[in-house]
Amino acid sequence: SAVISQKPSRDICQRGTSLTIQCQVDSQVTMMFWYRQQPGQSLTLIATANQGSEATYESGFVIDKFPISRPNLTFSTLTVSNMSPEDSSIYLCSVLIVGTGGFNEQFFGPGTRLTVL
């Protein structure tokens, strides 16, 4: 397993501003992901954070809106840029760990609850 921490745990922001969320893992991991969980909805993958290269974004998400950094194998940041109330969500960091038998499992951080006014 992995211990994942996120900062901040929650924030209230004004529209038009940007917020950077940090994700720290207690061990080196190859793959890290960023998800969004909008109120009353399920989790949606935003992007895969690649170490040493640009993140891979899912359909509907773009780098200008959600820039991601992955400077090393234990840390990543997600920025929510030019925020609007529609960006109010829980943002979760996730890591992929190789489990028993070589099968991979994803573990999730505690999430960052963002409210945009």
Binding site: S42, L45, L92, S94, F103, Q106, F108, P110
Partner: protein, 112 residues
């Protein structure tokens, strides 16, 4: 596109009642299946998983799930729920290379 359907959005049960939460996926290839649980105020935790082998999978806290390939289903069950099982439950499927696709979630409320 691949998708995961959870039929019950809200379930209310009394303690000791039996639980079954439905999950269906739409993907014809090899799948890995998961159930995650999110207790109030806590982060997402893995409840159980299926990769291969015995289609009846046992997880933590007395939960189990059965993979029925012909029905594209992976229903979650527990014979007797407790108040502490109150949580939101998410079914998820890996598609391609470790990309998790989640269902919409089921909120379970267990009354004491």
């Amino acid at each position: 596109a691949q998708s995961v359907s959870q039929h019950n959005h809200h379930v209310i049960l009394s303690e000791a009642a039996s639980l079954e939460l439905g999950c269906n996926y739409s993907y014809g290839g090899t799948v890995n299946l998961f159930w995650y649980v999110q207790y109030p105020g806590q982060h997402l935790q893995l409840l159980l998983k299926y990769f291969s082998g015995d289609p009846l999978v046992k997880g933590i806290k007395g939960f189990e799930a059965e993979f029925i390939k012909s029905k594209f289903s992976f229903n979650l069950r527990k014979p007797s729920v407790q108040w502490s099982d109150t949580a939101e439950y998410f079914c998820a499927v890996t598609v391609g290379f470790q990309k998790l696709v989640f269902g919409t979630g089921t909120r379970l409320l267990v009354s004491p």
